[in-house]
């Protein structure tokens, strides 16, 4: 492992760990994200409010810290959902082949034909706003990516000698798939989860910005950016800090993904 890869891996791990702490225990780091204080509305960053306050006097720092759980939780759940849907379908399609494989592959192609954000807008708009719907929309966008990767991996494994040996020993097909092929496909799918995380994060933020994300007053980075649009010149801190949080999270995931990739 080169020095650069070691740096990327270490830094990525550290930053992701930090984000995990913020997402899981926001209460230790900041006060309430919903405490309204009209007298202190649109106050610039100060010792009392590190990131300033918004149009109802809520603390932006508290909203950014509490938003980590919402934003990262939705993206994380969506990536896991996509990995389960696409990974299982891909492994089965690649291992079994034939008609089911063809049908699923065409379906995946059809979904991949859309730019992801456009597909996300259509699905999120039809389902309506809400955290669960956002997870579903992002899950549908990225399931085909996992499908392709798991399918290719399973296809490669199915041709290996040990699979043939397992069959010759009289194991059933599903047992071979579950016990021999799946464990060899899983690491590829897991790595893909980390690689896709920053991309899914961008889409999640964009949907929140378009008003298709979680409804207010739940703190969410993308939704915060939407609320900041009317105050770009009067209160730029409303836009700067949630965006920096998104940037930070994407850098963390990107570094971890690169480090893992070059570790092989």
């Amino acid at each position: 492992m080169s020095g650069r890869a070691r740096f990327e891996y270490g830094a990525g791990l550290l930053l992701c760990g930090l984000l995990l702490v913020v997402a899981l225990a926001p209460g230790f780091l900041a006060g309430s994200p919903d405490a309204v204080d009209i007298a202190r509305r649109l106050a610039p960053p100060s010792a009392a409010n590190w990131f300033g306050t918004d149009e109802t006097g809520r603390d932006v720092y508290a909203r950014v810290v509490h938003g980590a759980g919402t934003t990262l939780g939705i993206v994380g759940a969506a990536v896991v959902l996509a990995a389960l849907l696409g990974g299982v379908a891909g492994a089965v399609a690649g291992f079994v082949g034939r008609l089911g494989d063809m049908a699923l592959s065409r379906g995946a192609d059809a979904l991949l034909a859309f730019p992801p954000i456009i597909l996300g807008i259509v699905i999120a708009a039809t389902l309506g706003p809400g955290a669960v719907n956002l997870v579903l929309a992002l899950g549908v966008i990225y399931a085909p990516v996992f499908f392709r990767i798991a399918r290719a991996a399973a296809l490669g494994e199915a041709a290996r000698a040990y699979v043939e040996a397992a069959r010759a020993l009289g194991h059933r097909e599903w047992a071979v798939l579950l016990r021999h092929v799946a464990p060899n496909v899983a690491p590829t799918v897991l790595l893909q989860c980390v690689i896709l995380f920053p991309l899914a994060l961008q889409i999640q933020a964009a949907l929140g910005f378009l008003g298709l994300g979680v409804p207010p007053p739940t703190p969410d980075w993308g939704a915060s950016l939407q609320e900041s649009r009317n105050y770009l010149t009067a209160a730029p801190w409303l836009a700067i800090f949630p965006g920096l949080a998104l940037l930070f999270a994407a850098v963390a995931a990107l570094l971890l993904g690169r480090g893992l990739q070059s570790r092989g």
Partner: protein
Amino acid sequence: MLGALASRFGAAAATAVLSTAAVFLLIRAVPGDVVGEMLGQSAGDPAAEEALRAFFGLDRPLWRQYLGWAADALRGDLGASWRQGLPVAGIVGEAFLVTLQIGLATLALALLAGVPLGIVAGVRQGRWPDLAVEAFSLVALSAPVFWTGMVLLIAAGAWLGWSPPLVYAGPGEDLSDNLESIALPVLALGLLQAAAYAQFARQQTARVMRQDFVRAAVARGLPPRAVYGRHLLRNVAIPLVTFAGVILVQILGGVVVVETLFAIPGLGRTLLAAIQARDYPVLQGALLLAVLVALLVNLLVDLLYAAIDPRVRGA
């Protein structure tokens, strides 16, 4: 070659049919349609709802609605907007031209900035130019593109005292107004895609630099200009040209959100407005166009690749 071309074309056409069908069903799967929103106050009058639904053809079975739409679309007729009554082809085509101008300007910026940066980083691997380019692309790739746009808006207002015109001006109306309208969106998208291009160019340069013929050229004592100009650039150029297709499709996606931020009447804004108004014909037309452009660009990239590199032709 001709057979491979035909099969690629067939696959693209099949994908187009499947994806439009999927979207067609998806947008009709949700409760509530244009009828309820149009009637407003008088909603609940079954006779009026029935009549309006029949007028829009919403009373027919889904598969017949799709086949009817697809048959018309094949003849070039995308129908009329349920809200404005205007032909969809006109609405969507006009919006697409706006998006296309921004897309092409972004591509030019990404190429001009990203490729030199990537090649320099690839040649000077591990040195400071490489690290600087890497740091730039890490940040540019991680920042949400609409947030980059917001930061640019804030910075232009605070430091230059300048902000883009409130109303978008097309290139046909007033060129200088038009350039002011698209400057920040193109810059925001361009920073992101320049980073993507720089990463790709760096990787391709590093790959060529490792090869024996480059080392042999250096060993023969050729001046750096000859090594880079003749041996490196020629081998890097092919993948860089084809990568333009990948970038163009990515821009098409990114531009949707940026258009909303900067109030530009492009394809993305049209799409969003059509969804909110449940204006199915416009929505379907815009999505069809988006998918067709993405498929067409990918197809062109494959063809270009085959035309330049004979090794690909058999595949």
